[in-house]
């Protein structure tokens, strides 16, 4: 029964929660209007420029580089290693395995061995820096520990207690082709798999949504085309302020004759 839950029910639940959750969060952002132009300068003037800026922001974090070098090192290392590891894992989901995934295997493998280092650095940073300790909440530690658990179980799985690859792939392809079979796999793989499912379940409800959110950030995805009028979609008309007569009635007389009322 436990195997049935872990390898059949939970994966589908996680997939649905993840997909629906992420789409719902992104839909919420997309449908919310942007009333004002608040782009942070220096900003690109064209859409192409904005695309480059967003890709740069998403891949190598220039803002962090400007502001916090140790954090930048940890962040860039973690995210780029994560990319390699994720791409390497495609070999479990694709059949036949494409050539480019094959060619990434060695790099992905070393990335997997290294990835706990930046994770540990990021965790240490939260605990050592007083101000980061102050702002950190349970969710921040949970995300880091979950990722550490996933990567460490993955490393042990690869290096010391390998699961039989054909069984793993059989299970995953069964899930993908909607013909799941109860798999018999070692407990360490079960743990690794369970933690990943937990991450997928947690993802849409958490700060991990920064992954998609960055592309919706108005300070980063707007253009600096200030010569063009920016229209607020929900703009309200403001009434002429009748408190303030033009010019104030009681002084109208005085204003009609310049110089009058002055004390020489």
């Amino acid at each position: 029964m436990a195997a049935k839950i872990l390898y059949i029910y939970l994966p589908y639940l996680a997939a649905v929660v993840f997909a629906v959750g992420v789409i719902f969060r992104i839909y919420t952002w997309a449908k919310t209007p942007v009333p004002l132009r608040i782009v942070t300068t220096p900003a690109p003037k064209t859409r192409g420029g904005v695309a480059l800026r967003l890709i740069g922001d998403a891949l190598w974090f220039p803002s962090l580089f400007k502001g916090d070098k140790p954090l930048w090192v940890g962040g860039v290392l973690f995210h780029s290693l994560l990319w390699l590891v994720l791409l390497r894992h495609l070999r479990f989901f694709l059949y036949p395995v494409p050539g480019w995934v094959e060619s990434l295997q060695t790099a992905g493998l070393y990335a997997g061995y290294l990835i706990p280092i930046p994770l540990a650095l990021l965790l240490l940073r939260r605990l050592v820096l007083e101000r980061n300790l102050y702002i950190s909440i349970l969710g921040d530690y949970f995300a880091l520990l979950l990722l550490l658990g996933i990567t460490l179980s993955g490393i042990f799985l690869k290096a010391f207690f390998p699961a039989y690859l054909v069984d793993v792939k059989d299970m995953l392809l069964g899930l993908l082709h909607l013909s799941p079979r109860v798999a018999v796999l070692p407990w360490l793989f079960g743990l690794h798999f369970f933690l990943v499912l937990l991450l997928l379940l947690y993802f849409p409800f958490s700060k991990l949504m920064h992954a998609g959110g960055i592309f919706f950030s108005p300070t980063r995805n707007q253009r600096a085309n200030f010569e063009k009028r920016f229209v607020n979609p929900w703009d309200v008309k403001v009434a002429y302020n009748s408190n303030n007569l033009f010019p104030p009635e009681k002084y109208r007389q005085e204003l009609a004759s310049p110089g009058e009322g002055r004390k020489e």
Binding site: P33, V34, I38, Y134, I214, P258
Partner: protein, 297 residues
Amino acid sequence: MRFPVPVPEIKTGASKHAVCHPAKEKDMAKIDLPRERREDWKEAMLKKMGEMLDKYRSLRLYLDICVKCGACADKCQFFLGTKDPKNMPVARADLFRKVYKKYFTVGGKIWGRANEAEDLTEEVLQDWYTYFYQCSECRRCSVFCPYGIDTAEITMAAREIMAAAGIATKYVTEVVAKVYDTGNNLGIWAPAWKDNCSFLEDDLRDTEGIDIKFPVDATGAEILLVPPSADNFANTNTMIGYGKMFHAAGISWTTSTYCNEGGNFGMFLNYANLKKVNNRILEAARQLKVKKVYWGE
């Protein structure tokens, strides 16, 4: 352990005492806000918060995606100056975020306090009033945030939400009310403005021997000048500069006693007043039938 970059220490509650004076009833009435804190302030604030979340993508997104990396922390002059941890941009936004999570997110409803979700209590409101008025909306944090999270957007929303429940500061509301009364932030009435202008004319005639005009409410000029009002009150050298420049260039110009201020304190209060204060410039330009507006500050 020494961290490889300088890290400011934190002193909890260091600037808790620096609380702004509350707004006066007479000013609140003039700017279409509740005269005093509403009986149902909590409901009023939550209602306004819901409205704003649906109107500003920036607000909702920035509350959702902050990962609390702390890159913004030592970029805020209010934190560096006071060492109060609630003045770190991320912590300032957290004051808002915990209420948002409690009432508007699934995560907050599932995990509650473990996910920092918190009720909107009197203490939370006190923190809001204290620390959202210790932000100058300079947006420096947004430059260093990896996602461009702009704490000024959150500060502005918090102030607008408080204002809707009748909670605002004396300084800001008084200035906005003054703009509606007199046309400028300093409260210079039309005759005083006019008098100041003719004084400068006399002065320049004496010192320079030239007839340089400082027209007020002149219809059909080329340019409407909207200066900071202090230029015709305290920093008159700047006003003299405008006059000389227009004289030398041979351009006809005027100031308006309806709108003789370019600074906009509505920015620190709410959208309606922000727009109303700015709209005066347009109204004055149309009334005086000018072709262009020169707008300082």
